[in-house]
Amino acid sequence: MTGPLQHGQIRVRLFAALRERAGWSERSIALTPGQPHPTASDLWWQLELGGTAAKDDGALPASLRVAINQAFASLDQPLQAGDELAFLPPISGG
């Protein structure tokens, strides 16, 4: 677990198979001042979570879900400084 977020950052968390494929569980990403706020979808490609395919080459996995600040959210919701974004592989609870 990393420490408190720096000003102007968002925290990205990965779970289960996604975490193991990426090789990390948590990162802090700095927002670029003056640029549009990224969405979860933008960060998926930027962090190469689907492998090395570029954004134009592939689609997001149909089963991918994300949580923003620990609540399910849209992949297209712009992230705010201080947000915690989690990429969630398919759920298998109970």
């Binding site: 289960a16 198979a17 949580a67 399910f72 989690a86 298998s92 609870g93 109970g94």
Partner: protein, 160 residues
Amino acid sequence: MALRVRLHHDAFDPLAALAAWQRHLELELELDPSSPPEPSRQRAAAEAHFIGRVRGINAAGEPLDALELEHYPGMTEAQIEHLAAAVSARHGLIHALVEHRVGRALPGEALVLVAVGADRRGPAQRGCQELLEALKHEAPFWKREWIGSSGRWIEGNTPL
């Protein structure tokens, strides 16, 4: 509506959890100042429970050594509470209990306990089923099957 959600990092006994929950509900009724108690504050006339345990074999028929459950601390608990409150409101449940294992669990150990109370058997049974399905699809848990030192993440749930 009485609601309890618990995650267990070690093996838990679902019947002991049910007994503790029952004592809690009885204590709540005793403390209730209304006399006679409101119908909604009486002991539920119908209770439905579900207990799920780790299978000894996987879907391919191979013997399993363990099942690992990963969760999202904080979100998992909050999401279960949200799901339980929604199902309870939809079916008019009087109480709902969810206890769920996390971490590495052995075959035969309890994975999940869902227990709900209502005034009639239909809402109790339907509420228990719906809450279980909600947990399976809407609460952030991920299962990994272990055979020896080889682990495989499970995508999706066993069929109904």
